[in-house]
Every structure is written in structure tokens, then in C-alpha cells.
């Protein structure tokens, strides 16, 4: 009915037609709830960030103060604490304390409980259209884990070795929206919730993505899922990478994706080399 090119051209200047803010509402259009978020922030995240993981942040100035940016990070831990810590770092240390949108697997939208809670905390499904709307139209910060679930599900013996970065969809998204990529390295999440083995039968029974055996799970029940060990966290935000690739050029996208991956991996190894103790940093 309308060919694709005009549709795209017409879509580009639609930013000003975004719905206005309704002050009486407690939720955003994405389902994000400031109330739930600040409650979790004041209790759980605050404790973990300051006292349990004793996060130290380097390079927070690399997170842009305005405009969209795509944060790309390594991902680890049975129930990964890294996303929450990155969000908390930006909220607390950044001069503008910008809210962070965390992309998660579509799986969580279909799983009871998660489906209700995660959007309230600022998580959105990792759909290219969602990422584009956030980055381009709403000029927001988006965090992606290109490793996907391969990151957190890897065993303790493979710690800090980045898994493959898929097909580089994140590069295409950033290029299409014309925003920089900010690589992020998180050290400590691997030791906070190490996975020793996978329990396939229980995974099949619960329908979860994976069912790990960690120091505290499953023998301490559901609470054991958040029974993190007190590893020292260090978060490093690297220089933003301005992309100059066409989102449709597969080769260039793949190359850029590899560059980002290599940069995170190098920095991780560097940080590990400087670390004296897992627990004290």
C-alpha cells in the first residue's frame, strides 16, 4: 500500500508526534514505574551497590549527558546483577542521573512474575524496533548485552571470556539511530553468582532459560537466586565509539561488532590483571 522507502521517510520526522507526558500517571508507556523502581533502588540496589559489592566506577563521563546512546556490556552471573549495578552507577555517579533502559530476552515477557515485574524496573524486550524507538525517538540510554543468555549461563571455569556477539544487531541498531556505542566492562559479577553446573531436568520442569547450580541455589530456594557472594565490583565505561557504518552493510556491521567486543575483552583482562583479591579488589 505504501512502499517501504516513503514509509521510512515519513517515519523519520515523527518524533514530534510522540505522546506527551501525563502527570497523573504512575507508569510510563513502556510500563516503567517510578514507584517500584525507587523502592527497589532504595532497598535492594542501594545495599548491593554500596555495601555488598562496593562498586567502583571509572569513566562515568563517557556516558553522554544528552541524546541517545547504546551501552554495551559483558554479562555474567546466575541471576545477573550487572545490569542493576550499571543502572545504579549512572543514577548515582552521573551528573544527570539518567534513567537506563535495560534490554532483556523476549522470554521474560512470557514468564509469569517476571513479565509483571521487569517492565516496572525499566526493562524492555530486546526487539530492534524497541531499541530504535528508545534510541532515536526518545533519545534515551539503552543497555544491551550482545552475548544474550550465553553470557550468564556460562560456567565458572569460562569466567570473563566474552561469548560471541551474535549477528551484531546492536551495531545495526546504533547505526540506524545514529547514536554512539559506549562499551562497558563489569568485573565481579562472575564471582558474585558463579554457576558450577546446569540442572537440565529442573530447567525443563520450570520452563526457565536455564537452571543453574550456584553456591546458594537451588538448595536455599528462590531466595538463593539472589544470594550473591560479596565480590568486589569494578565498572569501567569506555570512550564512546562513533559509528560510521551503514546498518545494512553486514560485513561492516560484523567488523564493528568485533571491534567493540575486542575492546571490552581487552579492558576486562587489564582490570583482572590489576586485581589483587576477588573479594577486596
Amino acid at each position: 500500500m505504501q512502499d517501504a522507502s516513503t514509509a521510512v521517510a515519513r517515519r523519520d520526522d515523527l518524533r514530534r508526534y510522540l505522546p506527551g507526558l501525563e502527570t497523573d500517571r504512575r507508569l510510563s508507556d513502556w510500563g516503567r514505574s517510578e514507584r517500584v523502581e525507587s523502592f527497589v533502588d532504595r532497598t535492594f540496589a542501594d545495599f548491593l551497590y554500596h555495601y555488598w559489592f562496593r562498586c567502583e566506577v571509572v569513566g562515568i563521563e563517557n556516558v553522554p549527558a544528552a541524546g541517545g546512546a547504546l551501552l554495551v556490556s559483558n554479562h555474567a552471573g546466575a541471576l545477573p546483577p550487572d545490569a542493576a549495578m550499571i543502572a545504579k552507577a549512572i543514577r548515582d555517579e552521573h551528573p544527570y542521573g539518567r534513567p537506563l533502559n535495560i534490554t532483556v530476552e523476549h522470554f521474560f515477557k512470557g514468564y509469569p512474575g517476571f513479565s509483571m515485574l521487569l517492565p516496572k524496573l525499566g526493562c524492555v524486550a530486546a526487539h530492534p524496533a524497541n531499541v530504535h524507538r528508545l534510541l532515536y525517538d526518545e533519545e534515551a540510554l539503552v543497555l544491551v548485552f550482545p552475548e544474550g543468555q550465553k553470557g550468564p549461563r556460562k560456567l565458572y571455569k569460562d569466567r570473563y571470556r566474552l561469548q560471541r556477539f551474535g549477528r551484531g544487531g546492536f551495531v545495526a541498531s546504533a547505526a540506524r539511530a545514529g547514536v554512539p556505542i559506549v562499551p562497558v566492562c563489569v568485573m565481579g559479577s562472575e564471582e558474585a553468582a558463579p554457576i558450577f553446573a546446569h540442572l537440565r531436568l529442573l530447567q525443563r520442569l520450570t520452563g526457565l532459560l536455564y537452571f543453574p547450580l550456584t553456591p546458594t541455589f537451588p538448595h536455599f530456594g528462590l531466595l538463593g537466586m539472589v544470594g550473591y557472594l560479596p565480590a568486589k565490583f569494578r565498572i569501567r565505561f569506555l570512550e564512546p565509539i562513533k559509528l560510521d557504518v551503514s546498518p545494512d552493510d553486514r560485513g561492516a556491521v560484523q567488523t564493528a561488532s568485533e571491534t567493540v567486543r575486542a575492546r571490552i575483552q581487552e579492558n576486562l583482562f587489564e582490570m583482572l590483571g590489576e586485581r589483587d583479591s576477588i573479594w577486596l579488589g
Binding site: 500500500m1 506527551g20 523476549h106 530492534p128 524496533a129
Partner: protein, 439 residues
Amino acid sequence: MPSRRVLITGLSTYWGGRLAEALEQSDEFETIIGVDSRDPTRELDRTEFVRVGTQHSLLRRIVEAAEIDTVVDTRLIVDSLVTSAARAHENNVIGTMNIIAACGGPDSSVRKLVFKSSAHYYGAHQDDPAFFTEDMERPHPPRTPLERDILEAEAAVADFAEKSPGVSVTLLRFANVLGPSVRTSHTALFRLPVVPMILGFDPRYQFVHEDDVVGALEHVLKQSYPGVYNVAADGVLALTEVIDLVGKPVAPILPPWGTGMAAAALRRTGVEITLEMLGQLRFGRGLDNRLLKATGFAYRYTTRETVLKLAEHVRLSPILRGTAEPYRYEREVEEFLRRSPNVRRAGRRPGERANGRAALREGTVPASAEGEGSAGPEAGADDYDDLEVRELAVVLGSLETDDLIALRDHERSARRRPDVLAAIDDALARVEAGGGEEP
């Protein structure tokens, strides 16, 4: 190209009637003809009604004879609450094909086709984007018969658009409609004393107000807007937020696994949870409505305001329940009123009009003020807050003491207009005085 000679297919559906009513107000539309296989359900002044199904040869003759330039198809069934799957299929797929056949052809006078479709086109799935744009397709094939029909009907329209470059085809995909007078599976859901949800899910919902639906249909008639447009109000609400605004308790009684069976059991008890609703209750759906806004259309209500309007109606409907008789179509009367040289006053006929405000605006005698009719249940309750004192006075006369008190409470909490409050107090005093005299 503005439309001048309009044919509305499905005149007797809710939307057909509402649209014809709206188009009558404007002089830009010189001819409005409506066809349907049933009698019209709304009282219309200058719309010509022809009782005909979707036989395309008959439709074609009407189109040719009246030199119709625009066909608006409001007939699509998008809610399985309304009718059986077999009849919906007949109407949605076969009917659409026939109407398209009647519009097409090399010597056809039709220059514009407006087709009312539904956001059920996109479905509701786990791997959906948060906001569907018009160029997206559903990620998985549909499972419910109704959604299959909608896809098939849209495919037929798209095919027609491709093959007839001379015709501007506009396809509108509407989000779930809420409103005081429309009946959908979602208005039924929010009228329940407790609203069932699926345990562990809080889906995102976007609605559109019934007046905005009519407004959007009218908007695309004023110019040529070929293409597909989503029609959904600003703002996507979580279901808990919606239910909270309606003021009902939430009951997460549907289990996350085996939801279909539980819904079937609930259906036995009279709680209508339709098949296409199940996906939405689990995953929700949001639409990107910016393309239509960019054409200059302005929504009157946001999703939140739409829900609030419904909430108001749900609270007031037991109080303002029907005093007016429903409209019945009588061919002879309509013929007389339209054709007889003895009819002096074309336009509003006194006494039956549901819309008192329209009468007031046009300067004719507000028949309702004489007390022989009344403002009717719909006008009374749908925009209660928009009604003027004079119009309210009509309703007040027919109310009991309890209802008046409830109405007064509502006014106090809502707009607090002194003149309205005084009118209610007056009516109260009158009722009480009258009650005292009677044995």
C-alpha cells in the same frame, strides 16, 4: 480529494450508524447512502438507507446510479462477542470481497475506499515490539478464527489497492475501543464486579475512545490519505492501572498455565473472555499512532481519559438507566419524512432525538425540554460532565431520590458547578414534596 458522495456499507452496525450521524452534520457530504441487510439502529435525517446485503451486483448498481465517489466499509466484525465464528467469516471475508468487487472496474466512479480494520491484525505475542508501526506484520500466524478473517480481509483490500492505482485506499487499524455506548468484550470485562487477570501478568493496553473512532473515519474522508494508519489514543497503560482507574478490584484468577481451559470454564459462568482477548491479557499490545497524527488528526481523548470516561459511565449507568425507547426503523415513516411535500421542517424531528445538544446548537426547539421525550440514557451518561444545566434538567425530572443524591455526590466530586448542584437540589425538593402528598 475530499469526499462528496459517500456510500457506507454496514449502516446498521454501531459504527456505520455513528459515522452517518456525524457526516450528516457537515454540508461537505452532499449524498450519504447506507446499505445493510438489517434495519438501521440509529435515527438518521438525510442518509438514504437501502436494504441490501453484500451482493456485489446490487451494490454495483447503487454505486453507479448514485455516482458514489467514496465507499466507507465499517462492517468488519472485530470482536467475537458479537456473533458466531461462521457468521463473522461470512461477513468479514466474503462480504469484503463483494464490496471490493463492487468498487472496482475500469469505469467505476469510486475514487476512494476507506476500510475499518482492527489492531488484531498484529495479534499479541511474546516477541512483539512494544509499539507496532503500520509496516510491521505479526510475528506468528493467527490462531483464532477472527484474526484469520481480519488478515484475509486486509489482504483483499491491499490487493485491491495495488491493482487500482486510481483509487485512494485508506485502511485504519483501530485499537480496542472503549466508550459509554459501544459494546465490546473489553467494556464487558470492565463492567464485571471484579476484573479477572492472568496471574503473574500485567499487560500493556492501549484503547481508543468511540468518538475518536468516528472522528478518524471522518478525518480520512476530508482528504486523500492512501495507506495504512493505526488509530489508538496516546498513552499505553498497564492493565492494573486501567482497572484501578475504573475503580474495580483485580482478581488474578486465571492461571498462567492452562489459561485457555480456565477461560472456557469462566465462559460457562457467563464471563465472556474471548479468544483474541487471551493473547492481550497475557502479552498486551501497543501501537505507534504517530502516522495518523502527522496527517493532522487530533485525538480528543488519551487512553487514560478514555478509561476515565468509561469509568464514569459505569458508575452512572445504573442511575441513568433507560427512560427513552430504543429507536425502531419504520420504512413508511422514514419515507414520509424524507419525501412528503408536507414536511416543513427538514432536519431534527422533535421528541425522539437522543442528542439534545445537537438540537440546541441548531436552534430548533429542544423537544426534550418540553418533557415529552428525554435526553435518553446514552446522552445522559456518556458525557455527563459535558451536559448543560438545561439538558440535565430533563433527566433530573425522571429520577428517584436515591439517584439524585448519587448524582449530586458525583457532581460535587467532579465539576462542582453551582447551577447544576442547585438544579439537583431543586429536583430533590420537588421529589420529596411530591412523595409527601401521595398516599
